[in-house]
């Protein structure tokens, strides 16, 4: 018999990588709720058998394992965390406000990340111009949504803040690499203010991945992607 079966404390494990903004969401959520957990560091070039067993369909991080129960996909994990540990709720009670939070979290993943990551960081020339224009359009929607609020979740950090939070750190690195300003203080004052507020919030500010390491990684990603193109 495993002695852990006699241990009443919960066992919470997060499978993550140092760079993943998706895994970071899960870490933020657990820490904001004061839940203790262990981190299992994965190397995506050499995925552990356990990760492949727990997430056979997507084979990705993050994966949350709570007392043997496995949950995959960061936004699904966030909702699980919110429903399991009720302190410092990430979602409001009101159905419409809840739907709104989910909408902006999804918009971040489906549109914002795509346009900035795929359209700006990994492109150049005309394609990058188009990616930049799309990104600005997407950021304008975020600007309109955050105006008048401290966080997307209102007075406290909510699901949408956590989902969009990568903008408060990873974006700076992208901007430096491509030499383009996306969240311009003049164009998007409310979003710029949110960025500051979120980046410096307790817990959030203690958990950002190393800037220089990220820059090296993103430069490599950009070069690899551009190198794939036809010779000029």
């Amino acid at each position: 018999m495993d002695e852990r079966e006699y241990n009443m404390a919960e066992e919470v494990k997060v499978f993550s990588t140092w760079a993943s903004p998706f895994a970071l969401r899960v870490i933020w959520a657990l820490k904001l709720k004061g839940v203790e957990f262990d981190t299992v560091h994965e190397d995506l070039i050499n995925k552990s058998p356990l990760l492949l067993q727990y997430n056979p369909i997507h084979k990705k991080v993050p994966v949350l394992v709570h007392d043997g129960k496995v949950i995959c996909e960061s936004l699904v994990i966030l909702e699980y965390i919110d429903e399991t540990w009720k302190q410092n709720p990430l979602l409001p009670e009101d159905p419409h406000q809840k739907a709104n939070a989910r909408f902006w979290a999804k918009f971040g993943d489906d549109k914002v990340m795509q346009s900035i990551g795929g359209g700006v960081l990994l492109k150049e020339g005309k394609e990058q111009e188009e990616g930049f224009a799309a990104s600005m359009e997407n950021l304008k929607y975020l600007e309109d949504e955050i105006r008048g609020k401290k966080f997307f979740g209102g007075e406290t950090i909510g699901l949408a803040d956590i989902a969009l939070g990568w903008l408060a750190h990873y974006l700076d690195i992208v901007e430096e690499i491509v030499g383009l300003k996306l969240i311009d203080q003049e164009k998007f004052p409310s979003l710029a203010a949110w960025k500051q507020e979120f980046a410096n919030a307790p817990i959030i500010r203690e958990n950002w991945p190393d800037r220089d390491k990220l820059a090296t990684k993103y430069v490599a990603m950009r070069e690899a992607n551009l190198g794939k193109g036809t010779p000029k």
Binding site: I71, L75, V76, E79, T84, F103, Y141
Partner: protein, 219 residues
């Protein structure tokens, strides 16, 4: 205190059908508003400024967008009967995972089935069947993904059933031959009024797909 509910939708959209099933399951009275997607209405643009897409639900003047978000909203706003999600958080997470899988993987593949040719088409068919087999695994011996009753994953996936005839005809293959359990599940769902009344005639959908193919220059 009467609820005013309007659904901006397009007849052939499986995403719209999800919402129709959800509202029917909850017994919600609503106005169905067929949208012209080539000439979008001012109401659609006002209620869904970000995506400008259907389905868009309007409930007492406030809009909800994105089909799965709408289905969850319908579940939250009309709590009294027919819950789509289980009460246990881990089971809820599993349910959400599979609905997300349908949107992330399955839908993209199905588009290729009716637009691609040659090797790309063969690849898409293979991927589609693989996805269906994964879904069959998740279904197991249960009558519905939701267990004894229709649940979130059933609502998320069954609308695509009325597109199966179009996939099979364009792709020249039989889904039932490869995944009989999925077809059996779909037919079981169709016995429910909320589903049979919401899904469109597969032949009509196929005609529509042929039109789309012409418009896209597929042949």
């Amino acid at each position: 205190m009467a609820d005013e509910v309007t659904l901006l939708d397009f007849w052939a959209s499986p995403f719209g059908i999800r919402v129709r099933i959800a509202l029917a399951e909850k017994g919600v009275k609503y106005e169905y508003s067929e949208q012209n997607l080539k000439n979008k209405s001012a109401l659609l643009l006002q209620m869904n400024p970000v995506y400008k897409k259907i389905p868009t639900l309007i409930h007492n003047g406030r809009s909800v967008c994105e089909s799965l978000i709408i289905v969850q909203y319908v579940d939250d706003a009309w709590k009294a009967n027919a819950p789509f999600l289980p009460s246990d958080p881990h089971q809820r997470a599993q349910t959400r995972f599979w609905a997300d899988f349908i949107d992330k993987k399955v839908f993209e593949i199905t588009k290729k089935i009716w637009t691609a040719k040659g090797e790309e088409l063969e690849g898409a068919k293979k991927d589609f069947i693989e996805c269906l087999k994964l879904l069959e695994g998740e279904l197991g011996e249960k009558p519905y993904f939701g267990g004894e009753n229709l649940g979130y994953v059933d609502v998320a996936f069954v609308p695509f059933y009325c597109w199966f005839y179009a996939y099979e005809t364009c792709g020249k293959f039989s889904i039932e031959a490869e995944c009989p359990k999925i077809i059996a599940w779909a037919k079981r769902c169709m016995k429910k009024e909320s589903v049979s009344r919401s899904l469109e005639d597969p032949k009509k959908v196929y005609e529509f797909v042929l039109e789309l193919r012409k418009r896209l220059g597929v042949d």
